[in-house]
Symmetry: C2
Subunit: 485 residues, 2 copies
């Protein structure tokens, strides 16, 4: 493994642990959840001496960040980076989450938004760039004395870190950046001001590998750098030529740990939640999502209503359970969207409910055991995102579902490239197509359901999180062998 | 010329003339204006026996359509096609103008719109497709007995016509379709339901040449058909391989007739309007646009306000004249946008006006002589479109302006590919960049202004509407020689 000739450093904005003080004054910590953090844990397990660098988030995190690094927690060696609070706020709340997230998911109403200007520049120069420089400093400190460290940078908060890391560590370091959200086509990338548009691309090309979840994003990235920076590339080989170096552009579809979900599905917490799920009327149509504009929640309900209107015999025969984890509620666009979601649910329940049957059960809380309980019991799972980097819900649910549930999958979810052929594919903008897919899923023969569910599960199990890590490690070794030794 | 071996047929939804009845009961007509109609007139002048096919729009048009065709008007031979009114309404008001226009300009707020479904399918099957079949019938009737006619189809109302024309006329006919609006990237094209998404592309590949205003649209089209239909192509040569045929994908930047504008600029009507224009206070910042969501009118005013705030010395030294031709006022999105425009103007005039000086003069009417009068007198012209197929205003204005006016040009206007280097380029989403460009334009030295204005005018005059026609005619001849003889 390449970790023999270089220390492995993972960097992500959000880390694997957050520290706090207990009432008795002792330092405690909680381990982070979420797909990417879980995936990066799998990377760390591969290397004895690895370090995970992340932003200090809590007050106690800041104390940890000031102590001699790294801090050892269970199997982890963690380095927390203290940022200037104002710079961090600008990076996070002015640039990464509103601007980059919206551009990369294509969520703007372009005749009206965004309104860019000097405040964008300020957030870039005084927020995004210094925070990224700060990450690079922490990387440099962590690998001091190493001849050829391996630096794995993660996601859209860190786009400028490759530039600063390369500046500090020189050509011998292996550097990659993994983009976990969609990569847009060049025209949408051009919404950004020139200094971000070009600055990010120049920085990413300082990495040795730029990685995405799908071949489509990898191709769109290559096309974007070609159009905007005018660099040459070999589309077949996935190589961009820049400054006398070769940058590999790769797709590694992220996945899950099936064993973890199988274990979870038998846990006490999940079994408890199953009572509630099993008490719902009729067949179970499920969605599990963060409350995000990209998830297409409103159209999902509208499509369900059309299905009920066309098939009156379905009244009382199905319940649509929507488990929506609150997200960014302080951002006006998100608050407005959450309002539209609630309103739509109320209207549909009002119009179509009868007796004790509520057509839609809406839960807006963060309750992971309930999600897993619902995974086990759905007859059909709706993932109709406007755009989605991967969508791990589709994969998690597939491995624990016990009812041969049918997946309805947006062609704009990254997961579609891998598992779309076993799902009912929908255009997220077409309500009637989604309504038809729901009806088809809920009335499909047992045999067809079994065939699809089995194929889906096998496909997910054939590319687990371990395989995801392995594929990257192999490419790191191949890259180092070709260029860095 | 290829017209020697085949009759030339032009087809566009809107024709060169509209007929009506005078009060005395006589048939009269008015000739259409607008860039594309003017351009197609230039094509017709090249051919003795040519026919122009268009939709009957007025009651009198329908009478003309029922008489033996073609109808001769001045130098034109016109064939009007009567469509079923409901089908035409579906094509025009449900599909072409809301859906295709919005998709191709990227104007949707995707988390909320569009809402596609069975009504989209209805509009397609009962509107767009039959209207296009109708056009193809008219083409077939017009060229009966010809061995190898030349059929030039125009714009986004006619995307299915190549399919039906090819079906009727076989491989010997030369068929081209010119797209006068932007071509989007593949992801945005995928917003459309599959039957439109694939149906349009399959039909367009029945043409021999698919033409655009810019190389960027041509490339995006090629990429779109490659991704969605999986066809092979040669990007260098601009050739798509489909069904054993070679389809040329070409860029012919449309232009104007400079002589026409020079003549116009001395006309009585224009001279009259110049009084008004010259009476405005200070330097003249101008915009001339249809009132369309794609034109970015609101951000233009907001940028102007920022310029006034940063440079208080500009108060009373400049007037922003906005000549906005009303458009699609019955469409809610347009009405809402026009409201936002008026509100923004009122607020800025309220906040910044003093004495007799009104910072912004807004005119919402259709007054072409006034536009030309303003073209002659601007110190700076703002064209900051979110997206624009070409934008002929920039070209028209450049050839008649008498004040070495500086063009501020959106990088997303098609014209930017040709004349951007002589303009101040702006990102249409960046208010401060636009504010800075306005200030720079209004305070630029005379020498720099002269240099830019001259280069701009020379560039426009080096590719007139005649050159645009010539380039297409040469390619038609080359294509026929290579494949059809």
């Amino acid at each position: 493994m390449q970790t023999e000739d270089g220390r492995l450093v993972i960097v992500s904005n959000r880390g694997p642990v957050t520290f706090s003080r207990s009432e008795s004054g002792e330092r405690t910590y909680s381990r982070g959840a979420g797909g990417v953090v879980t995936a990066l844990n799998a990377v760390l397990r591969r290397s004895e001496n690895a370090v995970w660098i992340a932003s200090a988030q809590s007050e106690e995190d800041i104390k940890v960040s000031r102590e001699p690094a790294p801090y050892e927690v269970e199997d982890l060696r963690v380095v927390l980076v203290e940022h200037d609070p104002e710079a961090y706020d600008l990076m996070y709340n002015q640039l990464a989450n509103p601007l980059l997230w919206f551009v990369q998911h294509g969520l703007y109403d372009l005749p009206y938004a965004p309104i860019l200007g000097d405040d964008t520049k300020w957030a870039w120069e005084e927020g995004y760039v210094p925070v990224n420089r700060n990450f690079a400093e922490a990387v440099a400190d962590s690998v001091e004395g190493e001849r050829s460290p391996v630096v794995l940078l993660h996601d859209y908060q860190l786009y400028m870190t490759p530039h600063f890391v390369r500046e500090r560590l020189g050509p011998e370091a292996f550097v990659s950046l993994f983009v976990h959200i969609p990569w847009p086509e060049a025209d949408y990338w051009r919404v950004l001001p020139r200094y971000i548009r070009e600055g990010v691309l120049e920085s990413l090309l300082q990495a040795d590998v730029v990685a995405f979840h799908t071949r489509r994003y990898a191709r769109d990235f290559t096309e974007t750098v070609s159009q905007i920076l005018g660099v040459e590339y070999d589309a077949e080989e996935g190589i961009v030529y820049h400054d006398g170096r070769e940058v590999w552009v790769r797709a590694y579809p992220i996945s899950i740990d099936p064993a973890e979900f199988e274990e979870l599905s038998g846990s006490e917490a999940v079994l408890e939640q199953e009572e509630l799920v099993k008490n719902l009327t009729g067949k179970l149509l499920l969605r599990v999502d963060r409350m995000d504009l990209s998830k297409n929640v409103v159209r999902g309900f509208q499509a369900y209503e059309r299905m009920l209107e066309r098939h009156p015999e379905m009244a009382g025969e199905v319940t649509f359970l929507a488990l929506l984890q609150p997200s960014r509620g302080d951002v006006p666009e998100y608050a407005r969207y959450a309002g539209a979601v609630r309103e739509t649910v109320d209207e549909i329940n009002e119009r179509h409910g009868r007796g004790s049957w509520k057509p839609i059960e809406l839960s807006m809380e963060d309750n992971f055991p309930r999600s897993v309980a619902a995974y086990k019991n759905y007859d059909s799972l709706l993932v109709n995102a406007v755009r989605d980097g991967m969508n791990l819900v589709a994969k998690e649910a597939a491995v624990v579902n016990e009812r041969d549930g049918v997946l309805i999958l947006s062609e704009n979810a990254g997961a579609h490239e891998e598992i779309g052929e076993h799902a009912l594919t929908v255009n997220p903008f077409d309500l009637d197509e989604q309504a038809d897919a729901m009806y088809e899923a809920l009335t499909m023969t047992g045999e067809e359901r079994r065939r699809r569910a089995r194929a889906l599960r096998e496909t997910v199990e054939a590319n687990t999180i371990e395989d995801w890590v392995e594929a990257q490690m192999e490419d790191i070794a191949a890259y180092r062998e070709r260029y860095l030794t």
